[in-house]
Amino acid sequence: MTVMIDIADANKTFTMHLQGGIELPVVRGVTFQVQPGECVVLSGPSGAGKSSILKMIFGNYRCDSGRIGIRHRGMLIDLATAEPRQVLNVRRATIGYVSQFLRAVPRVATIDVVAEPLIVNGLSRADAQARAGELLHRLNIPERLWQLPPATFSGGEQQRVNIARGFISDLPILLLDEPTASLDAANRAVVVELVAEKKRQGVAMVAIVHDDEIRHLIADRIVDVTSFAAAA
């Protein structure tokens, strides 16, 4: 099998210059791999560094040392040392990220927020909107809301818009940060289905899930983040 994510001995420390240069170790020696079609769930208490690891895989946080290997267009690229342009290419073609909160642009309609990742990759607006509509339907966002910007939606609705935006692409790697946190049972079930579909398509996933039941349903493997605890 071809490894999609290959992280080796990655380290991250924050240096807080405004607080007298305090060193805040985040994670040390992060090492794991993810295969196509596999969902790895990161576990550990709050503050153990789970979200930081996701952000390192996405290239949002920099690594101090170690390797973040990502299979991009058939080649293994080290995101820890990649040029900004390469990181952007990897995000466009390879890695999707469903963050905990939707960062909405003012004025943009919900349907376009969801369709955007497809349009960026060259799909026509009409086709992209059609697929966005299907996903919004499945996630129970009523059609009368589609033309409104999501800024005024409830927390749960915004999260479902965010999930639709994250799942719409056909990217081979998907990072999920608490995708079910503020959803009701019916919508949680939809997310579990969506994850299962991605697995069948061979998508490699890394997820953070606090809900034991959901974790049980989606995880193929659990990586315990406390083993990367940075505290000496």
């Binding site: 405004l18 949002n60 920099r62 952007l88 466009r92 943009v108 960026v120 060259g122």
Partner: protein, 265 residues
């Protein structure tokens, strides 16, 4: 449309190499180097006096550098040193392949002539002479920047601040430039007007695959519009990288100070 891995996109459009500018003993800009690629948006952030506007003037050939050079890949594919261009060539570049959006629209527009003429003028400067076609293109651009075509014959001095700024953008984009410089384009506007302008800019930049160098002191603007950011302080670039990386994981003390000084919305 968005194949960023093609060869064309793989060659830099603008290259700054060791750019410096000093006024007597004061160094306004020290040893700045970077490459800008087609379709890439680079934000230059920093406080007043950090050298960001000086850098923008150096990059756009409006100010002669004390050291270093700026090269640009012309439409014929040849990369040339800007300082070696003749005055006519430089002017042509400014009228066709480049745009410059000033903070104050009055600097980029002719306030007493009609909006249509403001846009059409740039087309005439590159040889358009068919009145009907010029007017058609001007109307089209007014619509794209969300100005009611019924206002085409009014002078921009009768426009609101937000409309003026959108008109300035239309005037710049009508000739299909590949590179646009922007100096605090949302600087003087109300917050609600700013949001609309930012959204418009964001869409135009993506649709037209524009390369942009934008100077701003507003990190929210940098986050919304740019792919990459350079943080300047005392004439030097002190930190650079992907925009979300620099803003979410700032390394330098000064960048951490800038990021932590943003008021929550």
């Amino acid at each position: 449309m968005a194949d960023f891995d093609t060869l064309e996109a793989d060659r830099p459009l603008l290259i700054a190499d060791g750019l410096s500018k000093s006024y007597g003993r004061i160094a306004a800009c020290r040893d700045v180097s970077f490459s800008l690629y087609p379709g890439e948006v680079l934000a230059i952030v920093g406080e007043s006096g950090s050298g960001k506007s000086t850098l923008l003037q150096l990059l756009s050939g409006q100010l002669a550098a004390s050291g270093g050079q700026v090269s640009y890949r012309m439409r014929d594919g040849v990369t040339r040193d800007l300082a070696a261009l003749g005055e006519a060539e430089r002017r042509l570049l400014f009228r066709t392949d480049w745009g410059f959006v000033h903070q104050d629209p009055a600097q980029g527009l002719r306030m007493a002539v009609s909006a249509g003429a403001n846009v059409g003028e740039r087309l005439m400067a590159v040889g358009w002479n068919h009145y009907g076609r010029i007017r058609e293109s001007a109307s089209d651009w007014l619509t794209r920047v969300e100005i009611d075509v019924a206002r085409i014959d009014d002078a921009p001095r009768t426009y609101s601040g937000g409309m003026r700024q959108r008109l300035q953008i239309a005037r710049n984009l009508v000739t299909g430039p590949r590179l646009v410089f922007m100096d605090e384009p949302t600087g003087g506007l109300d917050v609600s007007v700013q949001a609309r302008l930012l959204d418009l800019l964001r869409n135009l930049v993506a649709e037209l695959h524009l390369a942009v160098v934008i100077v701003t002191h507003d990190l929210a603007v940098a986050r919304l519009l740019s792919h990459r950011v350079m943080v300047m302080k005392g004439g030097r670039v002190i930190e650079t990288g992907l925009t979300d990386q620099v803003l979410d994981d700032p390394r330098e003390p000064y960048t951490q100070l800038l990021v932590s000084s943003i008021l929550p919305p």
